[in-house]
Amino acid sequence: MLPIIVWIAISITSCKKLVEVVPPITSASSAIAYNTDASAISAVTGLYTNLSTGVVTGNRGISFLCGLSADEFTQYSGVASSTATTYYYLNQLVASPSTIGADFWGIYQYIYVCNSAIEGLTAATSLTPAIKQQLLGETRFMRGFYYFYLVNFFGDVPLITSSDYRINVGIARTPKAQVWDQIISDLQAARDLLSINYLDGTLVKTTTERVRPTQGAASALLSRVYLYTGVYAKAEEQASAVINNSSLYGLVPFINTSTTPATQNDVFLKNSSEAIWQIQTTIAGHNTEEANMYLLPTTGPNSNPNTVYLSPQLLASFEAGDQRRFGRNWIDSIKIGSITYFFPCKYRANNYQAVNGVFATPTEYLTALRLGEQYLIRAEARAQQGNISGAQADLNIIRTRAGLPNTTAASQSALLTTVLHERQVELFTEWGHRWLDLKRTGQVDAVMGGPSGACAVKGGTWSSYQQLYPIPAQDISYAPNLTQNLGY
């Protein structure tokens, strides 16, 4: 009987071992994901892969939806009123059903990835120090980047900095100021951690591809954040840090195309020297989703994917002779019958590029941060600080490239107005700049509201509360401490 008893005893004691499995090779557990250089790089790169198809681009992306919310686009009349984008266009978002306006609330999905990456990387002990530093910098940058949009779109938002859902489920909306503090601290940390030069997939070698955040990207975003939060000296300082790095960054002059349309714009080409941070496409044969949506086919706008063209307000805001508008650099047009549709052509490489069944290499990348904005940030920061000549100088750099004469604005208030206008025509249909500028400068009600305001022109009715997007009702019901934005 003894061997049997021994056998039973062994069976019992080793039970735990008997049901331990090796983790799947087709996936990595979070414990392992950040413990080798390769898998940690894979996990953080996942953030960018999702960017290239997710919330920032295409027909549910920031540029498009904010452009609809603001005064940049006219929506094609054939788009059904039940289409979610119509709700953005008419400034008519509702909290429920969440399919209508939950787009940007979904950013929390990536905040989760950032938080778990920061936790995993911080705890990791076996990473190459330089790689660990760069990755930590990238994830801090990305968290700052995402919170920047969350706080702008929704106002007070729950500030979530851990991956533990049991804690996160109970977090209430955090006052904006605290969120901005977190963004600044993330971006400062990122700036200190990130590499100056662009790195390739090994995170060791440098590359010409500008598709990973660098110190320059952190400074560029930080300067924007300082501008938004009114810390003008620091905004100027950070913008200067980028502008002064002329070995990496420089404005790209327009090609003189007064007669024939430009075949390409150097500014938005991949690896353009104006680019501070770009997002690579991950779909075979694709260039940017923006090109796919905005470039109108010869048949004109349609219900999918070419649902918008440029609004009369935006077209009217260009000064005569502006090469961005009239040089067919960034705006092109197509005539259908008696109507001419103007559309953005910042991205010109058509979406699908297949030749004889083989996909062509993309020529353009979605540009998230570029030098042009930094000049405008510095101009505004300088104007705010009373540095009139400095502000004029920065503004004129942008105007000169557009083929415009130097600015005549000489007072602080005139300069601020001019900079805001310059931002409208320089940064149009990019990253919601117009929508955010209207909100942060307090002009949103004036521009959108009223019987002749942008909202009425689009066919909607403006109420001030609409400058903040609603939180999906589902989330309000699942999160015990979450409250809705006023008005919804």
Partner: protein, 1136 residues
């Protein structure tokens, strides 16, 4: 030395063994030899030595033998018989060898008793009457094995006695004229008058040997249960056996199809009539809301997967699993077990039967036992079967004239002109054509062939069976689609001479090459326009009916002929059971199992030949390859102990299981081939990408279990099982869990009270069990916080790095879904068990449901898997009736009926309203719910469908945002209301006729609306035809109809009607599932042909369906999947 022999010496035997029925000594050569040298040893020692050397049992009266003289022996390799003659010759003893028992008896007594002349003449009064003799009765079975525990009752008295381990019992001072009744469970009772067996009243003792023959009662058929066998009579659990013969009477490619209508509590649905198609099996209903509901399948002790690995084309349909578990492919994994190799299938349902399987058997268990060799002459058995299959029936669809009428009326209604794309009526298609597409596309005859050959035989120590089968099924579709299977089955049983060590080894191997269409043509067969063009051009190529601008005007349904879909599977299931008897009653055994399924799938998804000519220049050829292996092994050491304690038998088992399963699945997507012909080679692709469904999974499982059974006087039975289980599918916090069950049975017919009061009752058993088992049919690694590759077919890696992202929030505490099962039942037998009735009620409650628990998106994900206290209840009333209607020498007629009333409901779901299931379930209702608008008919003024809104007002635009609210006021379920089957088996001389019906009461989609994918009158290339029943449609104001106004454009009515109660009609049916007629040739003919057996037979499956249901088939109810075929076969079975 055997324990039995030892015991025989310890116990004082009072009488000698005498045989009446076999008085002559059998001098058959045993083949055994003895080598023994000894001087002056007592006979007892010699016998002991014989037992040791031969493993035979020596039975003798120690009183008689004790007085015999010691012997001196010098034997070397002496035959046993010679040895015995030498030893016994001078002692006045004789011997008899029967099987493995040597009976020793004095020579004289046999004679005297045989003569019966020694009875003294006793004069009453003069002498005191001599005491009655003590009579020893030995009860053996027909194999001369002693039967322990047989009961001996003297007729007319209530005295009874049970036999000991040697099958012996002594009646003291018994009147020789008394009649004794000997009974033993599983054997036919015998009544013996002692005096007829030579018991002499004057003798002081006597002995009688009685051989009982095995019972033919169904109650005594052995049932395979978890880790053992038990007769139906003593089974406490709810177990139904389907015998191999019943399965082999049915021409099916998958054993599960043969179980339809045979087992109470088991509901089987065939996904379609394509060879290798999916089969969904539910034992006592659906327990899990969100996870697996499949039973545990065990083949010869080795668990096999319930779902198939096949991952590409979905033409085979599912086996009920779509979203859970590591395996959820198309088709059925049980297709790879050869039905010809099956000895029996046991369906285990309640806790008493399933709890020992712990966390895997909440959904019941189906044990498949393959055939084993039997001792005896080498037997060769060849069985050849050829058959033909057809679709059971056709639907009445519009012919060209009716179709054109509908289209023109629609155009007129809409005031619409015939457009350039109205090919069906604008003259592009020849409107004088008519094609019966059902005949063309699904009207073919499929071939069914099965050739099976077995060789079996062996002796007492080794038995073997080797079998091979070739099976081929073709399709009713045009084209050379076929499923070919070759299989090999091997079974080897071996035992040591002393029967202590035993080996049982079985291997089943099958290789299956299934060439399938990538698309089921049934939908095209029904809905293609009757005037659609010819399939082929005169040159034999596909006709695309190009219009003047060179564009195809239809999607030729036969383009799939050029889209090869190949599914190759090889499946090996192998097991060895080793056992060693340490002590009598104590056995150590271990089961070793190994299983490997390898699949290869190839699907050429874009082939130029199947692409419209005008798009060929821009199309890219695409193909997918999937390679999968699913490999597992298990080791199950067990220790069992059986002994008599008190008046009962105590049977205990303790064991453990270690199981590991490794699954690898690689899916490669290729594109850019230069020719259609090269596509099966991945090398020919210009790009080859591993897709996201590529996975490597490991599953481990360990358990410790025990089972106790105590059977007191064959009257009271208690059965306890317990199991501690660990599964790698669960989080470290809850990897282990305990399961257990208690069952009890009371065989009240054994009580004298009942025996006297209810004489007509031959058997009566009440049984009840309660216990728990679990389900671990969830995905592997679900508790791990895993990062998965972000990949798609056309993805380009960001910076060349394959990026990963977290798959979701994970809960390290996820655990089993647990089902507590309560079952009570009664089994009664009348007329010597010729009429057996079984009834049981079961109530299974599944809780701890693993569901997605909603979270706000701020946590990163919208839900997390949690075990929630939601409870699903399945109750079922199961009735079965087995009768032997006629039982005579030449005729035997038996019948059986089974009937099940299932009921499923969601008992509790805390927080249902706020969960993501709020739109799918209602507390108190079944899990399968459809919320529907109430249909009010067609509006006589507009011709639109009218429905009742929530206030009961008529509306043509009912509202609902979700499935169960808004104007959806009617809630129905498509779960069956009741189901069952009945079977008859008739034998007359060499003829045998079997037929089995199956019936189900249920709801199904209404044909008239069901086939309307589009509005009647609309043209939507390839799907526009309608059933003739739409002709009674609304035509002009005032018409009362149930079919809306024809329209050439899309109408909302089509989706509204399919969401209304008009969409569901009775889909109940009664089907002659199986018919089998065979004729065994008379003996003389066989002798002349030197055959052991020769049988010709005719078999039919799905022979006749009686239903009011108007669709193609009430079972799979599809308008897009091929119904189960009607198959008729002819066969010949020859045995040598």
């Amino acid at each position: 030395m055997s324990f039995i022999a030892k015991l025989s010496r310890v116990m004082k035997l009072t009488a000698l063994i005498l045989t009446v029925c076999a008085v002559h000594v059998m001098a058959r050569t045993s083949g055994q030899t003895i080598s023994y040298r000894a001087e002056n040893v007592p006979l007892k020692q010699v016998f002991a030595e014989i037992e040791k050397q031969t493993g035979y049992l020596v039975v003798y009266n120690s009183a008689k033998v004790g007085t015999s003289k010691p012997v001196t022996i010098n034997a070397k390799d002496e035959p046993l018989e010679k040895f015995l003659n030498t030893v016994l010759g001078s002692q006045g003893l004789q011997y008899m060898i029967a099987k493995k028992t040597i009976l020793i008896s004095p020579k004289e007594e046999v004679k005297k008793n045989a003569q019966g002349s020694l009875t003294p003449d006793l004069t009453p009064g003069l002498l005191p009457p001599p005491p009655n003799p003590d009579v020893t009765i030995t009860v053996l079975n027909t194999d001369n094995q002693p039967l322990e525990g047989a009961s001996i009752i003297i007729k007319g008295q209530n005295k009874g006695i049970a036999t000991d381990i040697n099958g012996r019992a002594t009646l003291r001072g018994v009147d020789p004229n008394a009649t004794v009744i000997i009974s033993f469970t599983g054997y036919v009772n015998q009544e013996v008058k002692l005096s007829n067996r030579g018991i002499n009243p004057s003798a002081t003792s006597g002995s009688v040997v009685i051989r009982l023959t095995a019972s033919t009662s169904e109650l005594d058929e052995m049932q395979v249960i978890a880790y053992g066998k038990v007769s139906k009579r003593f089974n406490v659990g709810n177990v139904t056996t389907v015998k191999g013969e019943e399965i082999q009477r049915q021409p099916v490619g998958n054993v599960l199809q043969a179980l339809e209508g045979k087992v109470p509590g088991l509901f089987v649905t065939q996904a379609n009539g394509i060879a290798g198609g999916g089969v969904t099996v539910r034992v006592q209903g659906q327990n899990s809301i969100n996870n697996g509901n499949d039973p545990l399948y065990v083949v010869d002790g080795m668990p096999i997967s319930s779902q198939d690995l096949i991952s590409l084309g979905n033409v085979l349909g599912t086996s009920g699993g779509t979203q859970y578990g590591p395996v959820s492919g198309f088709g059925s994994a049980l297709s790879y077990i050869n039905p010809s190799d099956i000895e029996s299938v046991e369906v285990l349902k309640d806790a008493a039967a399933t709890a020992i399987y712990g966390s895997r058997a909440a959904n019941g268990a189906i044990l498949i036992t393959t055939k084993k060799g039997k001792a005896g002459k080498t037997k060769i058995d060849i069985n050849v079967q050829q058959g033909w299959g057809k679709v059971t029936r056709k639907l009445d669809m519009l012919n060209t004239q009716q179709y054109l009428g509908m289209r023109h009326e629609a155009k007129m209604n809409d005031n619409a002109a015939v457009s350039a794309t109205d090919y069906d009526i604008n003259g592009v298609w020849d409107t004088t054509r008519y094609t019966d597409w059902q005949k063309t596309l699904i009207g073919g005859t499929s071939q069914y062939s099965n050739i099976n050959a077995n060789i079996s035989g062996g002796n007492a120590s080794v038995q073997y069976l080797v079998g091979g089968t070739w099976h081929r099924e073709t399709s009713v579709f045009p084209g050379s689609f076929e499923d070919q299977k070759g299989s090999l089955h091997l079974s080897l049983n071996a035992s040591s001479d002393n029967q202590k060590f035993k080996l049982q080894f079985t291997t089943s191997y099958m290789t299956d090459n299934n060439l399938l269409p990538s698309v089921d043509l049934t939908s095209s067969a029904l809905l293609t326009e009757p005037d659609a063009p010819a399939l082929f051009l005169p040159d034999g190529s596909l006709n695309w009916a190009l219009n003047s601008s060179g564009n195809s005007t239809w999607n030729n349904p036969l383009r799939y002929l050029y889209v090869p879909f190949k599914n190759k599977v090889s499946n090996l299931v192998s097991g060895a059971l080793l056992s060693y008897q340490i002590l009598p009653g104590l056995e150590l055994k271990s089961n070793f199992g190994y299983k490997k399924t390898s699949t290869y799938n190839f699907l050429a998804s874009t082939v130029m030949a199947a692409t419209k000519p005008e798009t060929r220049s821009t199309a890219i050829r695409k193909a997918v390859y999937a390679y999968g292996t699913d490999e597992s092994w298990n080791i199950e050491p067990q220790l069992s102990y059986i002994r008599k304690i008190g008046n009962g038998i105590f049977d205990a088992l303790i064991g453990s299981t270690i199981l590991q399963n490794n699954l690898d699945n690689t899916t490669l997507s290729g594109s850019g081939y230069t020719s259609d012909a090269l596509m099966e080679s991945p090398v020919a692709a210009t790009t080859l990408i591993a897709s996201g469904s590529t996975k490597t999974l490991q599953y481990k499982y360990a358990a410790l279990y025990g089972k106790l059974n105590y059977n007191l006087e064959n009257r009271y039975i208690v059965d306890l099982t317990a199991r501690r289980d660990g599964s790698s599918r669960f989080g470290p916090e809850s990897q282990f869990h305990n399961f257990g069950a208690a069952g009890a049975a009371w065989i009240f017919s054994q009580e004298q009270l009942f025996q006297r009061a209810l004489r007509f009752l031959s058997f009566g058993k009440l049984k009840a069990s309660y216990g728990s088992s679990g389900s671990d049919q969830i995905a592997d690694y679900a508790y791990l916080n895993s990062y998965y590759p972000i990949a798609g077919l056309s993805n380009v890696a960001y910076q060349g790095i394959s990026s990963i992202a977290p798959g979701g929030l994970t809960n390290p505490a996820i655990a089993w879904e647990e089902t507590s099962k309560l079952q009570i039942g009664i089994d009664i037998g009348f007329l010597n068990d010729r009429l057996l009735i079984g009834a049981s009620y079961s109530r299974n409650r599944s809780s701890n449901q693993l569901l997605g628990y909603n979270l706000p998106s701020i946590t990163g994900f919208r839900s997390i898997n949690q075990n929630l206290p939601a409870t699903v209840q399945n109750t079922s009333w199961e009735l079965s009736l087995n009768t032997v209607n006629i039982k005579s020498k030449s005729i035997r007629w038996t019948s059986s009926i089974n009937f099940t009333i299932p009921n499923n409901k969601l008992v509790d779901y805390p927080g249902l309203a706020s969960s993501s299931y709020a739109n799918n379930y209602i507390i108190g209702k079944p899990l399968n719910l459809n919320g529907l608008f109430h249909f009010l008919g067609v509006d006589p003024s507009t011709g639109k469908y009218l429905f009742a809104d929530i206030n009961g007002n008529a509306t043509s635009s009912p509202k609902s945002t979700t499935l169960l609210n808004g104007d959806r006021t009617v809630i129905i379920t498509t779960f069956p209301k009741f189901y069952g089957g009945f079977q008859n088996s008739l034998t007359y001389k060499g003829f045998q006729l079997d037929f089995a019906f199956q019936f189900t009461k249920q709801l199904g989609p209404n044909l008239i609306y069901f086939t309307q994918i589009i509005t009647p009158g609309q043209f939507f290339n390839g799907t526009s035809n309608q059933p003739v029943s739409i002709l009674r449609h609304w035509q002009k104001p005032g018409d009362i109809s149930s079919v809306q106004r024809f329209s050439a454009g899309a109408t909302a009515g089509i989706s509204q009607i399919s969401n209304s109660d008009a969409y569901y009609v009775d889909a109940s049916y009664l089907r002659l599932k199986n018919l089998s007629l065979s004729y065994e040739l008379p003996g003389i003919w066989k002798q002349k042909a030197h055959l052991q057996g020769c049988r010709i037979y005719l078999q039919g499956q799905n022979v006749l369906t009686i239903t009011n249901y108007k669709g193609l088939d009430p079972e799979n109810q599809g308008n897009s999947s091929l119904p189960p075929l009607k198959v008729l076969t002819l066969g010949l079975q020859i045995g040598f």
